[in-house]
């Protein structure tokens, strides 16, 4: 497949870097200000070197990516909420041109799912978005293989930053502020950690899961979301007295989405530690399935994008 990649952050760059290994060709790579385009395949290494040196991947106007001859648009621009722009328009333009779209950007799938599905129905192309939920972990393809109708609920830990903070608080008996500062030093937490610690990032992923289970109907506004800022170290100590710990757990069903700090057994599967993620997929006929692994990171998330590309039919 010939890939046009929008977004040259960790994920976009890793997709470009690994595409060759997966048997695909990159014909365009764009960040917000510039693009490298070559219909015979761009020199990825060259573009990435330029990105590091000058902060720009190429010399072409990023808008001209739309006119390039590609098979799959990889949408890896930053997640935005509300109208989910410009990600939504990128996907729309590609579907209207009868191309496939693979999203790593959570915004359009969480906020404008039905619109995307309508565009897909009119298009020769398809949309896939494995990378939006749980990074490298095959969550959506597992649901797809079980068929969404046979999945009754998905629960789990899908934010590594919040999980790292709670794990450290429990292990070291430290308070939230202290561990947050440590996480920021380690690069696990962003300078502005709001998106992670208030549960928004996890909520977006569980909204996407609810949309897949119910074939639409949910956006972030429909989710009941609580974060971990109010959890003191003493709450984790008390939980431990009972053989439990506290994790930021999300739940998606056809009825709704809920994210918040919950008590889980210390020895239970959902009590993953550090930045590890896990989902429990509850099925009608096959009991519970658990998928665990790295839920973030450039190369990790890029593998999910490239698995999606591999599942697409030829155009």
């Amino acid at each position: 497949m010939r890939l046009a990649i929008l977004g040259a952050g960790d994920v976009g760059r890793s997709v470009a870097d690994l595409a060759g290994e997966y048997g695909h060709e990159v014909v365009a790579l764009a960040d917000s200000g510039s693009a490298a385009i070559d219909e015979n395949g761009i020199d990825v290494e060259d573009a990435l070197d330029r990105k590091f040196a000058d902060g720009a991947v190429g010399t072409t106007d990023p808008d001209s990516v739309a006119e390039t001859d590609y098979d799959v648009l990889v949408e890896a621009t930053p997640t935005t909420l509300g109208d989910a722009e410009p990600g939504f328009t990128h996907a729309k333009r590609a579907l209207e041109a009868d191309r496939h779209v693979v999203l790593a950007n959570k915004g359009p799938i969480a906020e404008r799912y039905e619109e995307l599905r309508e565009l897909e129905a009119e298009s020769a192309g398809s949309i896939r978005f494995e990378a939006t939920v749980g990074g490298a972990i095959p969550v959506l393809s597992t649901i797809e293989d079980s068929t969404p109708e046979a999945v009754t609920a998905v629960r789990g830990v899908l934010n590594g930053t919040a999980n790292f903070i709670l794990t450290r608080m429990a292990a070291e008996g430290l308070d939230y502020e202290h561990v947050l500062a440590e996480a920021q030093d380690l690069g696990v937490a962003e300078a502005d950690p709001t998106f992670d610690v208030d549960g928004t990032d996890a909520a977006l992923k569980f909204v996407i899961l609810a949309n897949v289970l119910a074939d639409g109907g949910f956006s972030l506004d429909d989710a009941d979301v609580r974060g971990i800022r109010d959890i003191p170290g003493s709450a984790l100590d008390l939980a431990a007295e009972d053989g439990r710990t506290i994790r930021l757990i999300g739940e998606a069903t056809r009825e709704g989405v809920r994210v918040g700090p919950r008590l889980v057994p210390e020895n239970g599967a959902l009590a993953v530690t550090g930045t590890r993620n896990i989902v429990q997929i509850e099925t009608k006929h096959a009991g519970s399935l658990h998928n665990s692994g790295r839920g973030a990171g450039g190369p990790e998330t890029a593998t999910a994008v490239l698995s999606d590309v591999g599942r697409l039919p030829p155009l």
Partner: protein, 189 residues
């Protein structure tokens, strides 16, 4: 909760580790010697069960002259037989195993200005509005009584009433400006 029939068919202690747990009570009798309690608890922990509480009746003596100990634990249903076997293999006398004491037992952790917001009134309301019995309470107030504190409340609830009870506790929490950390129910968790 987990699937009981599977537990009876497959007593393999390592069969599942998916977080599905139930509460169990075992009654043991121990010889009155130093280190006996630790020796009796180790097989439980080593088998992957969580200890919830230990009732060590030092003043009582069984007819055989031993000390009765009641241990509450939780583990995946298909691990429980393995826990009991491990106890017996370790030479611990297990008098009674597996009777669940309550319909359902849950813990919640409350966080906030608990003392300032009248903790005993909160507990009475939980008992009344959530039809629950408070089994025990553990309070941690590292900032003093007028700061943010945490309380773990273990509750006995009639079978099948857990969802309703948690709904009631959640609503009491929001009225009293408390964060309620609920257990994760449903599925195997």
């Amino acid at each position: 909760m987990g699937d009981d029939s599977a537990a009876e068919d497959e007593p393999d202690a390592d069969a599942e580790t998916d977080g599905g747990v139930r509460a169990y009570t075992v009654r043991l009798e121990l010889v009155d010697e130093p280190g006996e309690l630790l020796r009796a608890l180790r097989p439980i922990a080593d088998s992957g069960a969580n200890l919830l509480s230990i009732h060590h009746e030092r003043g009582n003596i069984t007819p055989r002259g031993h000390i009765p100990v009641e241990v509450d634990m939780e583990c995946p249903p298909d691990r429980f037989d393995g826990v009991v076997d491990a106890l017996r293999d370790a030479g611990v006398n297990v008098i009674q195993a597996g009777a669940e004491r309550y319909g359902e037992e849950i813990s919640v952790v409350l966080v906030g200005r608990l003392v300032e917001n009248d903790l005993s009134e909160t507990l009475s309301r939980i008992e009344a509005e959530a039809s629950a019995v408070v089994l025990d309470l553990s309070l941690a107030a590292p900032e003093g009584t007028d700061g943010v504190a945490s309380a773990r409340v273990r509750l006995a609830i009639d079978s099948g009433e857990t969802t309703a009870a948690l709904g009631a506790i959640r609503s009491i929490g929001s009225q009293k400006d408390l964060t309620v950390v609920e257990p994760l129910l449903g599925g195997d968790a």
